[in-house]
C-alpha cells in the first residue's frame, strides 16, 4: 500500500516510587541541584546498585495490565556510551530479557496497538545550559534525576495517523493512572518516535518530551516527509532531533553510524526469578481498568456510552460516578459529572484527584437536581462556586431561597394545569387573541411563585397550544 503512514513509539515513563531504582535517594523533594544524591547515583567508585522492589512491582503491574508475556527472571544489562549526563558512562537497563514482551493496548473495539516490549531502566542526570544548548559557554549536571526508575514501552508501528498516536498516548496515560504507577503532575513522559509515510524510509525522532510535543513532532515530520516525497528527494533511514522551540525536526545521524552500546549483563545485580506467587499477588492487586468501568457503566448502570467512555478516562471521576450512582439516577449523575463537573474543573484548571472534593455535598446537589428542587441553571452556578470553595449546598439553597422551578419538566406541568383551569383563555388564544397568552403566563407565574422566567413559560404554552 503506497502512502501508508506507519508510526511506532518508544515511550519512557517515570514510575512514581518514593526512592530511585538502585539507591535509596528520594525521587522527589528538594529541587536544589545535586541534593538528592548518594555515591550510587553519582557513580562513585566502590558504590553498588541495590534494586528497588517497589519499582519492579509497578512495572510488572503495567506488563500484566497490557497482557504482556512476563519474563521468567529479572536481568539487568549495562548499556555503555559516554555522555556527561551518565554517572557511570553506562546505563543500567534491560536488554537480553525485557520484563514484558508482546501485549497490546486497546484503542477501540476493533483497534489495538501491539507492544513489542516493556522494560525497566534508570534515568540519566539532567544537563543545564545557560540559554540554549548550542550557545551556552558551559554545561552543568544535576544528578537529582540520576537513577530515577523508568519503564520503556515499545510499540509496533501500528499507528497510521497522528490522531491514532494521540489516542494511544491518552489510553496509555489513563492506564498508568488507573494502575497508580505514574504521577502526571511530576512524572515526565518522553518518547522516541518512529515515523514514515511509505515509501519514505523509517525516521526515528529522538527525545520528544511531553504528550503534546509527541503529537506536534509527528505532525511536523509527516508534513516534511510528504513534501520530500512530492519533491522526489532521496532519503535513507535516519535519526532526527526534535526542536521544540522551532517546532521542527533536524537531522542527527544516519543509521549507518548508529551507536554501539556493547551490552553486557550487569554483574552487580543478581538474576532473580519472577515467581508465580509474586505475579498472582500483583494480579490480585490490579484495579478495575477503564474498559471494565465502561462496561459496567453501560451494562449495569445504563449510563449512555459516550458519558461512560469520557468519565472512564479519569479514574477519580469513574469512582465518583460509582458512588454517585448509589444516591441518584446513574444517568443523571453521569450527565452532570461528564458535562458540568468536567466543565467547571477545566475552567479552574484542576483535576478531580488533586482536589479536596466535598463529595457528600456534591451528592446533595445532585439530589436537589434530581428532585427538581433547584433549576439546572441554579445548580450550574452553585457547582461553579462549590469547586472554588466547598459549602453546605442544601443549607445555602434554603437560606437563599433558591428552590426554583425553571426547568421545563415542572414548568410544563404548571402550564398544563393553567390550560386545564382556563378553557376560555385557551379558546381566546386559539382564535387569535394574543393577550390571552399573557393571562395564561401570569397564571403559571403565580403557580411557580415567581421562580420562573416569563419567556420560558411563554414558549412552553405556545408549544402546548399548537
Amino acid at each position: 500500500m503506497s502512502n501508508e503512514i506507519l508510526i511506532g513509539l518508544e515511550i519512557h515513563v517515570q514510575l512514581n516510587t518514593a526512592t530511585k531504582l538502585f539507591c535509596s535517594c528520594a525521587t522527589q523533594g528538594s529541587e536544589d541541584p545535586n541534593t538528592r544524591t548518594c555515591p550510587t547515583c553519582l557513580g562513585m567508585p566502590g558504590s553498588k546498585p541495590i534494586l528497588n522492589k517497589a519499582a519492579v512491582e509497578k512495572a510488572l503491574k503495567l506488563c500484566l495490565a497490557a497482557d504482556c508475556t512476563i519474563a521468567p527472571e529479572l536481568i539487568f544489562s549495562r548499556k555503555s556510551y559516554f555522555y556527561p549526563d551518565m554517572s557511570k558512562n553506562y546505563q543500567i537497563t534491560q536488554y537480553e530479557l525485557p520484563l514484558g514482551t508482546g501485549g497490546s493496548i486497546k484503542l477501540a473495539k476493533d483497534k489495538s496497538i501491539s507492544l513489542i516490549r516493556i522494560h525497566m531502566e534508570e534515568d540519566p542526570a539532567s544537563l543545564a545550559h545557560l540559554g540554549s544548548m548550542e550557545k551556552s559557554p558551559y554545561t552543568l549536571v544535576d544528578y537529582n534525576r540520576s537513577g530515577n526508575p523508568l519503564v520503556e514501552i515499545v510499540t509496533k508501528p501500528d499507528m497510521h495517523s497522528s490522531d491514532e498516536a494521540r489516542q494511544f498516548m491518552k489510553k496509555l496515560i489513563t492506564l498508568l493512572e488507573y494502575l497508580e504507577i505514574f504521577d502526571i503532575n511530576s512524572g515526565i513522559i518522553k518518547a522516541d518516535v518512529n515515523v514514515n509515510i511509505k515509501p519514505y524510509p523509517r525516521v526515528e525522532i529522538k527525545n520528544v518530551t511531553g504528550f503534546k510535543e509527541i503529537q506536534r513532532a509527528i505532525e511536523y515530520e509527516l508534513s516534511r516527509q510528504k513534501q520530500e516525497l512530492k519533491e522526489k528527494k532521496k532519503a535513507t533511514q535516519h535519526t532526527r532531533n526534535w526542536n521544540s522551540e522551532k517546532g521542527i525536526t533536524t537531522m542527527l545521524r544516519s543509521k549507518e553510524t548508529e551507536e554501539e552500546y556493547g551490552y553486557i549483563i550487569d554483574p552487580d545485580l543478581t538474576v532473580t526469578d519472577i515467581t508465580d506467587p509474586m505475579l498472582q499477588k500483583l494480579k490480585a492487586e490490579l484495579p478495575e481498568l477503564a474498559e471494565e468501568k465502561i462496561n459496567k457503566f453501560t451494562k449495569t448502570l445504563n449510563v449512555a456510552e459516550d458519558h461512560a467512555k469520557i468519565i472512564s478516562t479519569d479514574k477519580a471521576m469513574a469512582e465518583l460516578l460509582e458512588r454517585a450512582a448509589k444516591q441518584v439516577a446513574p444517568d443523571l449523575a453521569a450527565k452532570w459529572i461528564r458535562r458540568e463537573l468536567n466543565r467547571v474543573l477545566n475552567y479552574n484548571k484542576k483535576k478531580l484527584k488533586d482536589l479536596d472534593f466535598d463529595e457528600e455535598n456534591f451528592f446533595k446537589l445532585l439530589k436537589l437536581i434530581e428532585k427538581k428542587t433547584i433549576t439546572d441553571t441554579t445548580a450550574q452556578k452553585l457547582l461553579e462556586q462549590f469547586i472554588v470553595k466547598p459549602f453546605d449546598i442544601a443549607k445555602y439553597v434554603k437560606d437563599k431561597k433558591l428552590e426554583a422551578v425553571s426547568d421545563s419538566g415542572s414548568l410544563e406541568k404548571f402550564c398544563q394545569e393553567a390550560i386545564k383551569e382556563n378553557p376560555d383563555a385557551v379558546n381566546d388564544y386559539k382564535s387569535g387573541n394574543e393577550k390571552a397568552l399573557h393571562f395564561l403566563t401570569g397564571q403559571v407565574m403565580r403557580k411557580t411563585k415567581g421562580q420562573a422566567t416569563p419567556g420560558e413559560v411563554n414558549g412552553i404554552l405556545v408549544s402546548l397550544l399548537k
Partner: protein, 467 residues
C-alpha cells in the same frame, strides 16, 4: 612474634600501649616504603587517631592490630586510587563494608597498598603512571606478584603482628602470597561484601584475608565475611567461627594433573607432590580438561568485558584527575583517559570493549559466560568425591623484574593458569607456603567447594604442618 590473638589479649589487658605500638608500626611502614614501595598511601593521622581511641577503650577482636588495605578498597577520607593515576587525589566519602567491620573490631588502618592498576596484572609491575612497583621482601631483584603485591610484601616483611586485605579477580591474592611466602585466602564469591571495592570485574572480584599465619587469616575472615545488604551479590548464609575450627579432619585431596605438566617448574611440581604425600592425606590425581583448555581465555574475556564498562566512569568529571576543560566532552574524556590510564588498563579496555561489541559479543562475551557455567560444573563434579583440590599456586617462583620485562602480554596472562579456574568458578582457595626454591618461597594452592572455607583452612593447617 606473637599471633594476632595473643597481641590482642595484651592490648585488652593494657600490657601493650597501642599508641606507642602504632607509632612504631607507622615508622617501620614509612622506612620500608622508601625501599620496597608497599604503600601508595600511609594514613598516619587516621592510624594515630584510631590508636588513641583504642587505648582509651581497648575493645574488639582486632584491638590495636595494624591492617594494611589494598588500594582498591575504599577507606573514608584516605586517598584511594586502585593503583591508578586517574584516581589521584580521590578520597572516598564512605568506608567499604570490610573497613567498617575492621574498625568496629578495633583494627588500625595503616595504609593503602600498592597494586597493579585496577588489579590488571600478576606481578604488581603494572602500577599506575608515576607509581613505583613493590619489591619482593625476600629478594629485591624480584617482584611481589600481583595484583595484591603491596599487601603480600608488607605482611611478610613487617616485624609486627599484621593483617592485610587483598582482592582477587583471577588470582590476585594467591599469586602474591605465593611469591612472598605468606598464607592468604580468597573466599567463595559473595562471602565477603564488595561494597566499597572499586570494581575490576564485578562477577569475579573477591576481597580476601592475608596474614602471617593461617590462624590470623581465619580470624580476619570470620570478622569480614557475612551478608551485607549493600551488595546484591552478597551471600546470605551464616558465617562460621573459622578460627575455632582449625582442627584436624579426614580429607580427600584431588591433585589437578593438568597443573603439573609442561610450563610448571619441575622442582615446584615435586615439592607439591611430596608435601601432599607426607601430609598423609588421602589423595588421587584428578583432571579438569575444560578448565585447562578454556580457563584463561574465558577468564580474560569476561574480566576484560566487565572491566571495560567499570572503567568508563573514570573520565575526569566527578573525581580523580582533571584536565583543563577544552573542546567537546568526547575530546575531554579522551584526553583525561589517555593521559592518566596506564598501558595495561588501555589494553584491557580495548580488548574488553571489542569482546562485547555487536557482531562479536555472541562469539566472545556470551560464549565465555556459557563456558564459565561448564567450568563450574566440572569442578562441582569433582567435589562430589574430593573435599579439596590441589595444585601449585604459581608455575614458577617470583620472577625478577628483568624476566618480567621480557614477557609478552599473553605470556603474562598465562601466569594465572592455575588460579583462574577457582576464581572463575567462585570457589574458595588459598595459598600455603610449602618450602623454598633458590631461596624463594613455593606455594601450594588448595581449592574447596563453595562456602567450604572451614574445610579449606583445616586442610591448609595440615599441609602447613608438613616438615
Amino acid at each position: 612474634m606473637p599471633s594476632v590473638t595473643t597481641f590482642v589479649k595484651k592490648v585488652h589487658s593494657g600490657e601493650i600501649n597501642v599508641v606507642e605500638h602504632t607509632a612504631k608500626v607507622l615508622q617501620e611502614a614509612k622506612k620500608l616504603n622508601r625501599e620496597y614501595h608497599y604503600y601508595n598511601t600511609i594514613c598516619e593521622p587516621l592510624a594515630k587517631q584510631q590508636a588513641r581511641a583504642i587505648k582509651k577503650n581497648p575493645k574488639g577482636r582486632l584491638a590495636g592490630v595494624p591492617v594494611s588495605v589494598k588500594d582498591a578498597i575504599c577507606v573514608q577520607g584516605v586517598e584511594s586510587t586502585a593503583g591508578s593515576k586517574i584516581l589521584k587525589g580521590y578520597k572516598p566519602l564512605f568506608d567499604a563494608t570490610v573497613i567498617q567491620r575492621l574498625k568496629k573490631e578495633g583494627a588500625i588502618i595503616i595504609g593503602k597498598t600498592a597494586q597493579d592498576a585496577f588489579g590488571f596484572g600478576s606481578f604488581s609491575t603494572n602500577v599506575g603512571l608515576d607509581m613505583k612497583a613493590p619489591i619482593n621482601p625476600l629478594d629485591p631483584t624480584r617482584a611481589c606478584g600481583g595484583s595484591s603485591g603491596g599487601s603480600a610484601g608488607i605482611t611478610q616483611l613487617t616485624q609486627y603482628p599484621h593483617l592485610s586485605l587483598g582482592e582477587s579477580t583471577g588470582g590476585s591474592i594467591a599469586a602474591p602470597a605465593s611469591f612472598c611466602g605468606i598464607p592468604a585466602l580468597c573466599p567463595t564469591y559473595g562471602k565477603i561484601s564488595r561494597y566499597g571495592l572499586m570494581d575490576y570485574a564485578n562477577s569475579l572480584d573477591k576481597i580476601g584475608p592475608m596474614g602471617k599465619t593461617i590462624e590470623d587469616i581465619a580470624l580476619l575472615l570470620e570478622i569480614i565475611a557475612g551478608h551485607d545488604p549493600k551488595d546484591s551479590t552478597s551471600l546470605t548464609s551464616k558465617t562460621e567461627s573459622y578460627s575455632k575450627s582449625l582442627t584436624k579432619a579426614d580429607h580427600h585431596i584431588g591433585i589437578i594433573k593438568e597443573t603439573l605438566g609442561k610450563g610448571t617448574d619441575p622442582k615446584i611440581k615435586d615439592m607439591v607432590l611430596n608435601t601432599i604425600d607426607e601430609s598423609e592425606i588421602k589423595h588421587a590425581s584428578v583432571s579438569l580438561p575444560l578448565t585447562q583448555k578454556y580457563g584463561v581465555s574465558t577468564y580474560f574475556l569476561l574480566a576484560m568485558a566487565e572491566a571495560s564498562t567499570n572503567l568508563a566512569k573514570y573520565c575526569g568529571m566527578r573525581y580523580g584527575k582533571h584536565e583543563t576543560l577544552k573542546g567537546s566532552f568526547n575530546e575531554y574524556f579522551s584526553k583525561v583517559r589517555s593521559h592518566n590510564l596506564n598501558e595495561e588498563s588501555k589494553r584491557r579496555i580495548m580488548i574488553g570493549t571489542f569482546a562485547r561489541m555487536a557482531g562479536y559479543r555472541d562469539a566472545f562475551y556470551l560464549k565465555a559466560t556459557k563456558i564459565r557455567t561448564k567450568i563450574i560444573e566440572e569442578y562441582k563434579k569433582l567435589f562430589k568425591t574430593y573435599d579439596v583440590l590441589a595444585s601449585p599456586t604459581m608455575p614458577i617462583i617470583a620472577p625478577t623484574f628483568k624476566e618480567i620485562e621480557k614477557l609478552t602480554p599473553l605470556q603474562h596472562y598465562m601466569m594465572d593458569t592455575m588460579t583462574v579456574g577457582p576464581n572463575l568458578a567462585g570457589l574458595p582457595h588459598m595459598n600455603v607456603t610449602i618450602g623454598e626454591k633458590d631461596g624463594m618461597p613455593v606455594g601450594l594452592l588448595l581449592i574447596a567447594d563453595h562456602e567450604q572455607e572451614s574445610t579449606l583452612l583445616k586442610a591448609a593447617k595440615v599441609i602447613e604442618n608438613v616438615e
